[in-house]
């Protein structure tokens, strides 16, 4: 339900990039989304399409790359991909870890012409 707000934020940044590059047209917009960010991919793509209609960004589209969360174990210091049903370290089974990526939304690339 909050994907509309996120799509609006993305659109704001993309508009600035388009202006800075004096773009006539914007194509693909690549966004990385951590699986812990609580964002629904289809819904975000749909919202972006709807709110860019009738603007200079019309015709651009989101490409969402999902990022699997990674954590670093505090005991053995190894970094690992987090299983969504069990965040424990798969190497030493420690329950002490810090999630290092997987909660953020990052704008990676904007295609301009």
């Amino acid at each position: 339900m909050h994907e509309l707000g996120i799509a609006t934020d993305i659109m704001g940044v993309v508009k600035r990039v388009a202006e800075d590059n004096k773009a006539k047209k914007v194509g693909e917009v690549v966004v990385e989304i951590g699986l812990l960010a609580g964002v629904e991919r289809d819904s975000l793509e749909f919202c972006y399409e709807v709110i860019t209609r009738g603007t200079r960004l019309e015709g651009s589209h989101l490409k969402v790359v999902e990022i699997k969360p990674r954590a670093r174990c505090r005991q053995c210091q190894k970094e690992y991909e987090v299983r969504m049903d069990n965040f424990h370290c798969p190497h030493c089974n420690s329950s002490k870890f810090d999630v290092v990526i997987g909660s953020d939304i990052n704008l990676k690339e904007v295609e301009v012409e």
Binding site: S95, L107, K108, E111
Partner: protein, 226 residues
């Protein structure tokens, strides 16, 4: 077409406002709890029991969030603490703006403790920072002991887990320790309490811990002010 590479974290408007809230409440010395759970886990009752035990020593405000009705604010206000309802109309979570709007009228007389009762929902409130000091997740026995595994983003975002309605264990075939174990698979550092708001069991530990966190914040503020 050329590709412009960026490495930009999308900081939503809500995150910006939440940061501003957090700074403001730190200056004012207000400790803010964001209480999240499914509908019906006992958030309002935990707040009522907390209010009864702290109202004489703290200036306290409760913000209750629901789609409709002012029932919860009325329930809480009976205990002699300030309570303001946020009716969202349809929104499935509270955001930083809604919370600050309700706190602004009190800015000249800040509270020691603000408890925000979020809309009952284990999905949408997870990424919405309100500027709180602590996100407290409440799960009642009987909701399903594997509930934390079904909603990992919410567990990962919380610092405290309160397992409520422990008085019902024998009737609902639930094991509070299994709930806790499942939650700790996601977030091992959770501070955990087992309580029954109905019988009062376990509430003393919760209150004492809350008081110690409040004292900690006051101390940090005092030393920051030199």
């Amino acid at each position: 077409m050329k590709r412009v590479e960026l490495e930009k974290k999308v900081i939503s408007e809500n995150e910006r406002l939440a940061r501003a809230n957090r700074e403001k409440y730190a200056k004012e010395g207000t400790f803010v709890l964001n209480l999240v759970s499914s509908p019906g886990s006992g958030k309002t009752m935990l707040i009522e029991e907390t209010a009864k035990r702290l109202r004489d020593e703290l200036r306290m405000l409760v913000l209750t969030g629901d789609i409709m009705t002012e029932n919860d604010a009325r329930r809480v206000a009976r205990h002699g603490v300030d309570a303001v309802q946020i009716t969202t109309g349809g929104a499935c979570h509270l955001d930083a703006k809604m919370v600050d709007k309700k706190l602004t009228p009190y800015k000249d007389r800040p509270f020691d403790l603000v408890i925000v009762e979020n809309v009952g929902n284990l999905v949408c409130p997870a990424p919405y920072d309100l500027g709180e000091d602590l996100k407290v997740l409440l799960i009642a026995v009987g909701e399903g002991d594997d509930k934390p595994l079904k909603y990992p983003p919410m567990v990962a975002a919380s610092e405290v887990l309160v397992v409520n309605k422990t008085d019902l264990v024998e009737y609902v075939d639930s094991d509070p320790d299994a709930i806790i174990e499942n939650a700790m698979r996601i977030k091992p550092d959770l501070t955990v309490f087992k309580v029954s708001c109905k019988t009062g069991d376990g509430l003393e530990e919760w209150i004492e811990w809350l008081k110690s966190r409040l004292a900690e914040k006051r101390q940090t503020r005092a030393s920051a002010q030199g």
